[in-house]
Amino acid sequence: MPTLSFSDATLEAMREEMRRDPTVFLMGEDIAKQGGIFGQFKGLPQEFGFDRVRDTPISEAALVGAGVGAALTGCRPVVDMHFADFITCAMDEVVNQAAKLRYMFGEQCVVPMTLRAPDGITKSAGSQHSQALESWFVHTPGLEVVVPADAEDAKGLLKAAIRSDNPTLYFEHKALFPQRGPVPDGDDFVVPIGKAKTMREGSDVAILTYGITVGRAMEAAALLEADGIDATVVNLRSVWPLDYDAIADAAARTHRVVVAHEAVRVGGVGAEIAAWIGEHCFDDLDAPVARLGAAHVPVPFAPVLQEAMYPKAPMIADAARRLARREL
């Protein structure tokens, strides 16, 4: 299996989908001539032309609005948000238009639009360029939300998002772009939306997570192994639709569950998962669900502060260890 960077895996997905379907096009700020701020669009205009790979004004509301309009009328637009934080400038277009139109209009239309949203904490980007906002969109019926964890997910979930007839938010963590990993070859490789992947199986505790925190959970599992604790790690891949079968299965097998993400803990996707486990898997549990996420503060600038406020491998391992030892 070839090894690609996360960034190149997204590029391969774009290339394959644009070759496959002439109605797929891409627009965003700094993408065509610059190749994207993470190099994730390099070479696309050379192959597909500047009409299908468009540099745009800094007009997020117009880009998402036009994405919805194009999706309603026979195209499959991919709109790059530059930074996920800037979705805030197009919230009406995402929440009141993209998410609602199919339902309000009695299923006369589909909205096959993909929003690419580079998110997450990295390199002291500060409070307005570091957020993980997926839970807002899980809370809005009508949207699909996917969060790739590695290069394989990056390609397979982006292809699935583009092919989906629903508006799909694709949150790609900025710190993952250079990371390399194996990626299945071929046009047919797609990661189905709504299906989790078990990254490692262990019987003592399950860590349910997604996005960049999957890697941190795998590091945590290695730390736990040294202590004789065997952890399952589930990469959820999609946060809506969630793979509740995989969640229930992990709870049933391990009886102890940690839910972890980089987004703020309060009102996060982890809260939904923990509540669901409480409702449906109560008898499977030997301990309360441990729920980890960022502190309820904006992401700070100073590296020492930034690194202190979200869950990394030692924190995840600590929570899992305390669950396994019945200290929680």
């Binding site: 109605t23 096009f25 009409d51 299908r52 468009r54 745009t56 004004p57 007009s59 997020e60 509301a61 117009a62 880009l63 998402v64 609005g65 036009a66 994405g67 919805v68 309009g69 194009a70 999706a71 309603l72 009328t73 026979g74 195209c75 009406d92 277009e93 009141n96 238009q97 998410a99 609602k100 139109l101 199919r102 339902y103 309000m104 209009f105 009695g106 299923e107 006369q108 239309c109 589909v110 019926p141 009508g142 699909e144 989906s164 007839d165 629903n166 189905p192 939306i193 709504g194 299906k195 999609s238 809506w240 639709p241 969630l242 793979d243 509740y244 079968d245 229930a248 409702e279 449906h280």
Partner: protein
Amino acid sequence: MTDVLTPPPSRARRELGIALLRTMIRIRVLEEGIEKHFLAGEIPGFAHLSIGQEAVAAGTCANLRADDSIASTHRGHGHTLAKGTPMRAMVAELFARATGVCKGKGGSMHIADFSVGMLGANGVVAGGFGLVAGAALSAQQRKTDQVAVCFFGDGATNRGPFHENLNLCAVWNLPAIFVLENNKYASTTSTAETMKIADVAVRADGYGIPAVVVDGFDAFAVYDALGAAVARARSGGGPTFVECKTYRARGHFIGDPERYRQKAEVEDVMSASDPIVRLQATLGEALSPDDFERIWREARAEFDDAVAFARSSPSPEKSEAFFGAYAGDRDASDAVHRIEERERAAFLPFAPELGSGSHGGAH
């Protein structure tokens, strides 16, 4: 932009005038009827009437093909009817019936008809700009000669999406046409209090979009301005801005106490400018009083038939509330279906009136 199409021969012009008049009278009858049935409690929700503005909808849509798109506003009955949606499907929608054009899920403020290129009324002021920019972009991407028209009010031009989308359509030379219905009020606030310019059309100049200001009570004037704008967009000439000076003869919504204007103002404008009276006068002897009366009679019969259809139509099944947000949510093999099924299963035990005894054992 000052040039307009050369008027067609007078016979064709007369026929056009009668067609425009018929559309305007159908809109007037529909909306007066909506008002009556709303006040009688048969139409739930909010409804906003465009009485006084009919010439804009009629004059614009008479230039469009079924595969051209329009996006409308919360005040969208006229646009919808003029673009070709049958009155039955509209009235049934407003009556919240399963036979409505949106299966009773949209109502007056979110009515749409994709079969005639009507991309929806919109509950958000300025919500249509992006949809029209996108439909125009889609036509350019797919290399068709379709055009897209955005209807909007003066109030919407104070929102950001107006500015972002005009600029985008201009810089990409998209086949989009912006039809401003300047009816002098943004909800309850006079335009004079919300902007410092007399003609909103000057804003188009800031984006390099040619603009024309027309008498929005004059259906021929609207028709001609739009004819030029549509021809320009269709041939790759890019967007045009048409400001139609018009007036909203009813309140912002049905039931509006209208504390912000005098009744005399409404009476003065309508007695001088009612677009139906104006067009009838323009047509003169080309339209006999009998023919004029017959158009009204036919419109009323059409509306009465639509009301009878709506009243005899069923409400949506309650279970329909749970379906339609996602493509795939009716397909048992789809992940979205499975998860939404779980959500329904979790909800139903607490909603016995929805008629499911099954308990939400979701796995």
